[in-house]
């Protein structure tokens, strides 16, 4: 058999694709759609859940879809639209397929109801999203009874099974998702007993922070969970308020909201470089990882952005992968982007010489670990090329355009000069 015939046979093999996208949320579907639109023949999505859509499948509140589909959907309908788009575009969708291990050569170990198989592609796009941190990772104190769960789990109870994990939860957190969690409780016959945030002010923008009081749920900032008690199910919790008072609340659950972290288990299992600050993969300006046949996009990079943001990012990385398929995997030199506290992360985490003419990322995305008043600046080879003075808040998106000169620099660093 000739080489061409062998190649042809491999292309027709059901275990082979031009591109495999791991994760069928907004970022993954958008990447797949873009690849199909760019004429890539075999694009496969591996999704471990029973349907495409990712976290939007159970996000019943946030409006989705305006920019990508020109109309507003609730999460579940948006998820169905994503799935329909992918089907119509001819994406090879494999639901109920869990990727267990990434091979350096693009071979993926996958398990599904049929058992284990190996699937392979010329490029892999990782879009496995993000999740909230559990109580263990937050090192929360107390007993470990039934009823301490995250917003994602709560919304899965409601959206997929029509059941509730509690009736009188204590809610912890004040990110955007925290108010969505509160709304989910109120619309499903649960009455939160209180909402607390350990930081001195709410993390979400106004007017969300007024919402708990409007619906009569006490909301305490600077309040720390001191104990959870309960033998079988949660029975009560102790909170230390900002003024030092200790408050005991009777509750039958503790709802942990926000504190997202990339779902990067596959990377950990596969010895791929993970960026310290974001716990997602290290990527360059095209979304390309250290191993240049791997790309990544969406909330895997940086917990957490909206579905719409992830969709647009996925589309751009999809376009980059389409361009990348026309050439050899790019192994050129990378220069890491360095930063220190109080910066939490910078994406892309590195720039690569010899990347694509149209990079997937035109801006650096930054986040702060805490509220900071001060001057943020970008330095190339020791020379400041950009700066801005401002009040920087934790968990808020900060964008800094990537200057052309940055791709030629051998040192790229962000600095923060605090003035408070």
């Amino acid at each position: 058999m000739s080489t061409a015939q062998l190649f042809q046979q491999e292309r027709e093999d059901a275990s082979y694709a031009d591109v495999i996208v791991v994760g069928g949320g907004p970022a993954g579907v958008a990447a797949a759609l873009k690849l199909k639109a760019r004429g890539i023949a075999r694009v496969m999505i591996l999704e471990r859940e029973p349907a495409l859509g990712g976290a939007t499948r159970h996000c019943s509140h946030s409006p989705f879809g305006m920019r990508e589909f020109g109309r507003i959907y609730f999460g579940p309908a948006y998820a169905r639209r994503l799935e329909r788009e992918a089907q119509d575009a001819g994406v090879d969708i494999r639901i109920g397929h869990s990727v267990v291990e990434l091979g350096q050569d693009g071979a993926l170990l996958v398990t599904s109801a049929r058992g284990v198989e190996s699937l392979k592609a010329r490029r892999i796009v990782l879009a496995t999203g993000a999740r909230e941190k559990p109580r263990s990772a937050l090192l929360l104190p107390g007993d470990r009874p039934v009823g301490v769960i995250t917003t994602g789990a709560l919304q899965s109870y409601v959206a997929f099974h029509g059941i509730m994990p509690f009736r009188r939860p204590l809610i912890i957190g004040s990110e955007l998702v925290s108010f969505s969690a509160l709304l989910t409780c109120l619309t499903h016959r649960a009455r939160p007993v209180a909402m607390i945030e350990p930081e001195p002010e709410p993390l979400a923008r106004s007017p969300f922070q007024w919402f708990p009081r409007l619906v009569g749920v006490p909301f305490h900032c600077g309040a720390v969970l001191m104990d959870i008690r309960g033998r079988g199910r949660v029975e009560e919790a102790d909170i230390r308020l900002a003024d030092g008072r200790l408050l005991t609340v009777k509750c039958d659950g503790v709802l942990l909201t926000g504190r997202f972290t990339p779902e990067a288990a596959l990377l950990n299992a596969s010895a791929v470089d993970v960026a310290a600050g974001s716990a997602g993969p290290m990527i360059d300006q095209d979304g390309r990882m250290a191993n240049p046949i791997f790309f990544a996009s969406g909330n895997l990079l940086r917990a957490v952005e909206t579905g719409g943001w992830s969709f647009r990012e996925g589309r751009r990385v999809g376009a980059a992968v389409a361009d990348d398929l026309a050439r050899e995997p790019c192994n050129d030199l990378v220069v890491p982007v360095t930063f220190t506290e109080p910066l939490k992360l910078v994406i892309p985490t590195m720039l690569r010489r010899g990347g694509l003419d149209r990079p997937a990322f035109r801006d650096f995305q930054l986040r702060f670990t805490k509220r900071v008043q001060g001057r943020l600046s970008l330095h190339l080879d020791g020379t400041e090329v950009w700066s801005k003075i401002g009040l920087w808040l934790p968990e808020r998106r900060v964008l800094v355009p990537i200057p052309r000169a940055a791709f030629e620099a051998s040192q790229i660093a962000f600095h923060v000069g605090e003035t408070n």
Binding site: S112, G115, P134, L139, P141, L154, F160
Partner: protein
């Protein structure tokens, strides 16, 4: 569920912890008609649910002690049955690590004690030699003692396997049965919250409540339980490659100290603390203590500093006012108490069971050996052998982090000792035990388990639809 009052068991085992499960198996194998009386909704719901999962050699046990003898006997039996019963054994070996010259000096004495204890595979290593066998160890290491026979096991499948075999031989498990009182008039009548139970003899393996149960049965307790809490942190599986071996500290008089230990499931755990308390039920975790454990772990293996936490837990050891096991035998009351099994219970359980049967022989009762012994093969949950997700037709993956299949969950509910609560389901399948701790699977598990667990995951499951 309990057979009628007229049924009289040969032996009532009180407490379905690791010791109770092993005792039930040993007596059932000997031909006794066994009942296991458990206060909780599931087995292993006391001290046995939280330990460091090490199968000890006994190298550091007190010389000439019963504990040493039983650890060695228990370990030997485990090694002889684990293959047949599908119970895990990960042969990691251990390094007793000295972090300063004082500790290093004591290693020779520990090695000498180990040899006197009959443990042959001991070797004193320089820091360089030790770090060759485990490069992740901190450069501050002074010296180490290698104990190659220390291994890790799945600490929940093993006792579940013992009890499953006992049940296969006709033993009965009675759950939600707290012992209230007992009377003896040649045979026992035990009053429990699940009704009265009749038995010829009693083996008290009630762990944290051993002294209280003795008192309730009218047996003057010979010891007082003084619970000692141990908190643990379980690190993400990314930690495992840095920790191929068990890292033990040089022990003090009070405790074996903080261990950095791989688990059979592919994680790394750091712990336990040793905190005296009066409460026999509450085992809380505390933020500052967990932070201190993480710090200590990263001092021992620096790469652990950047690895995320998968789980935290705390358990209570049934320590007593003395260091040694507290075993009471009362031939006139046909009662044996296995008490004060504070930290080597997992290793010694099968030895304690042999010992209890020997003591029971002194009561003069002879059992007829069972005609046949059913084979028991426990499902493998460890990463060292094939898991169900690797086999065809597993249904689907329910818990993504731990790759638990629907077939595994269905199977555990139809097993001879099905889970009684969520903790029991987790211990039997690993569902919800992974890094996301249920973000992805908790709702699905709630729907799958419905009202089959003592505390259902969903509230008002009945009236919701």
């Amino acid at each position: 569920m309990v057979q009628s009052l007229s049924t009289e068991f040969d032996v009532a085992v009180i407490g379905a912890g690791v010791v109770g499960c092993a005792v039930a198996r040993r007596f059932a194998l000997a031909g006794a008609k066994v009942v296991v009386i458990e206060k909780g909704a599931d087995i292993l719901s006391g001290a046995s649910k939280a330990n460091s999962a090490i199968l000890h050699t006994g190298f550091d046990a007190p010389e000439g002690s019963l504990e040493l003898e039983l650890v060695k006997a228990g370990r030997a039996e485990y090694l002889s049955i684990h293959g047949r019963m599908g119970l895990s054994l990960v042969e990691t070996g251990a390094l007793v690590c000295a972090w300063n010259p004082d500790e290093a000096e004591r290693l020779a004495a520990i090695a000498e004690q180990g040899r006197r204890n009959g443990i042959a595979e001991l070797g004193l290593l320089t820091a360089r030699q030790a770090r060759e066998t485990m490069p992740g160890l901190s450069g501050h290491l002074t010296a180490a003692l290698e104990v190659s026979g220390e291994h890790i096991i799945d600490p929940w499948s093993a006792p579940l396997g013992y009890l499953t075999q006992a049940v296969g031989l006709g033993a009965q498990l009675v759950r939600n049965a707290e012992v209230l009182s007992g009377s003896f008039d040649g045979a026992w009548r035990i009053e429990t919250t699940a009704g009265p139970i009749l038995a010829a003899s009693i083996v008290n393996a009630a762990g944290l409540f051993g002294d209280i149960v003795d008192a309730r049965l009218g047996l003057a307790p010979e010891f007082t339980i003084m619970p000692r809490k141990g908190q643990f942190v379980v690190l993400d599986k990314a930690a495992r490659r840095h920790v191929p071996r068990i890292v033990l500290p040089v022990p003090t008089e009070i405790t074996k100290g903080i261990v950095v230990c791989p688990t059979a499931f592919g994680n790394v755990l750091v712990g336990p603390t040793a905190e005296e308390q009066d409460d026999r039920e509450r085992a809380t975790v505390e933020t500052a203590t967990l932070e201190a454990l993480l710090k200590r772990g990263a001092e021992i293996v620096p790469a652990l500093a950047s690895i995320s936490v998968t789980a935290v837990y705390a358990g209570l050891r049934p320590a007593s006012e003395k260091k040694h096991y507290r075993i009471s035998v009362r031939p006139d009351r046909r009662a044996i108490t296995l008490g004060g099994v504070r930290s080597t219970g997992l290793s010694a359980a099968l030895g304690l069971a042999q010992h209890a049967l020997t003591l029971h022989a002194g009561f003069g009762t002879r059992f007829d050996l069972p005609l046949s012994v059913p084979d028991v093969t426990m499902p493998n949950l460890t990463e060292t052998c094939e898991r169900d997700w690797q086999r065809a037709d597993h249904g689907e993956i329910v818990c993504h982090c731990e790759l638990v299949t629907r077939r595994e969950i269905d199977a555990t509910f139809s097993s001879p000792v099905p889970p009684g609560d969520f903790g029991g389901l987790r211990r039997r399948t690993r569902a919800g035990m992974g890094r996301c701790q249920g973000f992805y699977c908790n709702a699905r598990l709630a729907a799958m388990t419905g009202d089959r667990l003592a505390v259902p995951l969903a509230v008002g499951a009945g009236d919701e639809r």
